[in-house]
Amino acid sequence: MGVMSKRWRACAVVAATAMAAGSFASAANAWEPTRTVEFIVPAGTGGGADQMARVIQGIIAKHHLMKQTMVVINKAGGAGGEGFLDIKGAKGNPHKLVITLSNLFTTPMATGIPFSWKDMTPVSMMALDEFVLWVNAESPFKTTADYVNAIKSGPPGKYKMGGTGSKQEDQIITVALEKAVGQKLTYVPYKGGGEVAVQLVGKHVDSTVNNPIEGVAQWRAGALRPLCVFDGKPLPVTDKIAGDKSWADIPTCKSQGLDIEYLMLRGVFMPSGVPKEAVAYYVDLLKKVRETPEWAQLMHDGAFNTTTMSGDEYTKWVENEQKRHHELMKEAGFLATTN
């Protein structure tokens, strides 16, 4: 905490200096980017974070929300560590943003790569991504209870859970599920969410915890069946998607006897030591992005949880989430031994 308060003081000093400098100029002293803004994606192309970054890029370009251009750069190496280290190394650079997924917390814990969210400045929470328990539509499991009972009665590891990456959000949920059910599953890591969904359609695994947007196409086509959603309340979208079912019709896992809640941060951060005006500029920019119809469409298609935050509220949220992940990772035995 000592380090932190010093850091904040440093920020305040920088901000004060900047403001003092600004007051000399009579023109509007709002900060604006003066060169191309890099938007780092600490994940591969085609994943949820990448898609969101590219949608944001597209919206900004389409509605001319920024004078400078924005480029999306994927830095997926080391479970996203490559991207985060890039941000850590770009201290004070106000032309760099990063979109995060849960690997913001899990990667340093699982690999020992030296960075933490404290090496970055939180800008804005764009949304929270939901997780749904999916099974193949041809499987006999019609409800969560069916599947849970089958897992319980089978030998350990009989049922296979496909997921994205290792020691990340999908596996954390799987471990929580194992704990709730009291029986082991076999977790099989794949590279991307789309691939996981296809593996389930091809019956190579028995279930997945794909995000809504990763599973929706196969659900509409009648190949997958959602059992429950890992959130405290049902999803808000009530449009009919498959037959007469909508996202809102999927029961919460809690109501089905699985007391598991997990939401994934889709948030934007900047390097540390950037001027306050720059942060304010991006907070405002991303707010404008969220007000566009394209954004509403994405939120709707992906059945996102549209909670947004910025400023201190967001910082506090991230801090809590960091603690929670530490607990979850510790329980699952995923912490790197080098830590």
């Binding site: 591969g44 192309t45 085609g46 990448d50 898609q51 590219r54 949608v55 597209g58 370009a61 389409k62 480029v71 750069i73 994927n74 830095k75 997926a76 190496g77 080391g78 479970a79 560590g81 490559e82 280290l85 890039d86 699982a110 690999t111 020992g112 790569i113 030296p114 590891g157 296979k160 990456g165 290792s166 020691k167 990340q168 596996q171 076999t186 977790y187 099989v188 890591p189 794949y190 590279k191 991307g192 789309g194 691939e195 969904a197 296809v198 593996q199 359609v201 091809g202 190579h204 929706v216 196409a217 196969q218 509409r220 086509a221 190949a223 394209e294 994405l298 298609d301 995923f334 790197a336």
Partner: protein, 502 residues
């Protein structure tokens, strides 16, 4: 035959002057992207994506997919002229393409490469048109064990064919596997072989290794032999295209086989790069001129190029039908679809008929337009070799450095590129084969990942690799390919004996 009606409808959607113009723009941009190793198709597509919001989705996707075609065509250019593969799938093209250029046959090599690209892509588009739903279903059959067997097959059909001493081939290939293992282990999520260095987090990228081993290594070899490209004496010959075309039909069987390999590898999500290696390997073994492969035979250009483009094209199908991108470029296209409110997946073919068949129709037209564009440029490209070495060499070095840098936006990769270059020079001089090394870097981690996923699924039982008929068949094919030399020798001997006794 419903497909044909839909296709005709698709042509109706696509055929307009505006769309034709977009095709030309897309192809030209794509060729530039393919030529410069620092730019991938994903760059071009990503950058144009925002511009396409003001167009109808069909026009936009035509523009973007034509960049994809252009990049496929363009990758061959630098491979042939400078031994620098602009894209990973053009590595195998360097094996005979560059020696042809050294012999003064750059025009022929380029013509053969472009024409083969066209043939491969066209074949794949026809497969998509006629069998889209069937093919999509087939792709679903591929779990980790099936994927591993495909990698195994690709490997087996390529290795064990060189003239180099076996211990050197093995050392080079295993070195490739070791390099591929550096970085994050996808199965456990942990790091390995990084020795605490943050630079090694993302491992050794294939492109960095290839730019170094092939591109820089080649310049060093050229330097050793004096300050010039070997055999640059070709004049600009405008009729080179027609002359080359006359000779091409002889290789129809090589082409057909490459088409089939390519489609197979594109649909099973192995991709264009292993397809090109596998096709080259099989062509080398079964050709009458097999011995001459690597010294600049046109068949050695046709085989990998055709397969790479058949694979690159057919890989678009799983993307549309299943929502799984086959390459980074395809992934960005996929992102584009989502912004336009098109949801890739099984229903895309039902709900967005105009769009899907428009896209397929644009594949036909884009290819034809692309071929016309690149063929007219052949004499121009071949003339690049006339630029004096003293100017072109540093330019190549700079372009290589940029290419290495852009892989991870990291100057460490530029250093690695130079190290690979020096290693490539010594390996080449000491008769270590580079191709197995490169193939192992490309396929190594993917094959290991599939292998370990299979074992997770089977609970550690290795029998998973002969548990289903599909896996068993592919694995058996792989073994046959691996042992083909021995088998064919035995067959020959048996045949000789019988003919003697008869």
């Amino acid at each position: 035959m419903e497909g044909i009606g839909d296709l005709l409808h698709g042509f109706g959607v696509v055929l307009s002057w505006a769309n034709f113009l977009y095709m030309l723009i897309g192809i030209t941009l794509g060729v530039i992207i393919g030529v410069l190793p620092g730019l991938g198709g994903a760059n071009g597509v990503a950058i144009l994506l925002p511009l396409t919001f003001s167009m109808p989705p069909t026009s936009a996707i035509i523009l973007l997919s034509c960049i994809y075609w252009g990049a496929l065509f363009g990758g061959a250019i630098t491979s042939i002229l400078f031994n620098i593969p602009g894209e990973p799938w053009s590595v195998a093209t360097t094996f005979d393409g560059h020696p042809m250029a050294q012999k003064g046959q750059a025009g022929e090599a380029l013509t053969a490469a472009f024409t083969s690209s066209f043939v491969g892509a066209l074949f794949a588009v026809i497969v998509i048109t006629l069998a889209a739903p069937l093919v999509a279903k087939f792709a679903l059959e591929f779990g980790p064990a099936e994927k591993f067997s495909v990698f195994f097959l690709a490997f087996c059909s390529f290795v064990g064919m060189g003239k180099e001493p076996p211990s050197k081939t093995i050392a080079a290939m295993m070195l490739g596997f070791a390099l591929a293992a550096v970085g994050t282990d996808t199965v456990t999520g942990g790091l390995r072989l990084t020795f605490g260095s943050t630079e090694l987090l993302s491992g050794f990228d294939f492109l960095v290794a290839v730019i170094g081993l092939f591109g820089i290594g080649e310049i060093l070899l050229t330097m050793e032999e004096g300050l010039s490209f070997k055999g640059k004496a070709t004049g600009i010959n405008p009729t080179v295209v027609l002359q080359t075309w006359k000779g091409l039909p002889r290789y129809w069987f090589t082409s057909l086989r490459a088409c089939i390999i390519g489609c197979w590898m594109g649909i099973t999500p192995a991709g264009a790069t292993p397809a090109s290696f596998m096709s080259y390997g099989i062509a080398k073994r079964s050709s009458k001129d097999g011995e001459k492969f690597g010294t600049g035979v046109i068949e050695g250009v046709i085989a990998p190029e055709t397969a790479a483009h058949a694979a690159g094209t057919s890989a678009l199908l799983p993307m549309l039908a299943l929502g799984v991108p086959g390459s980074p470029t395809a992934a960005v296209l996929l992102g584009g679809l989502l912004i336009w409110g098109l949801q890739p997946g099984p229903l895309l073919f039902v709900e967005q008929k105009d769009f899907v068949w428009g896209l397929i129709a644009s594949m036909y037209l884009g290819n034809v337009v692309g071929l016309a564009v690149v063929l007219t440029m052949v004499p121009m490209f071949a003339a690049i070799l006339r630029v004096p070495f003293g100017i072109i060499a540093p330019v190549i070095l700079v372009i290589c450095a940029i290419g290495a840098y852009t892989v991870h936006n990291n100057t460490f990769d530029v250093t690695m590129m130079l190290v690979f270059g020096v290693v490539g020079y010594f390996f080449k001089k000491c008769n270590y084969p580079l191709a197995p090394l490169v193939l192992a870097i490309v396929l190594g981690d993917k094959a290991e990942e599939a292998f370990r996923q299979s074992l997770l699924l089977s609970g550690g039982s290795i029998s998973v690799f002969w548990s289903s008929s599909l896996v068993t068949t592919i694995m058996a094919l792989g073994l046959v390919a691996l042992l083909w030399g021995g088998i064919s020798r035995a067959l020959n001997r048996a045949f000789d004996r019988r003919s003697r006794t008869a």
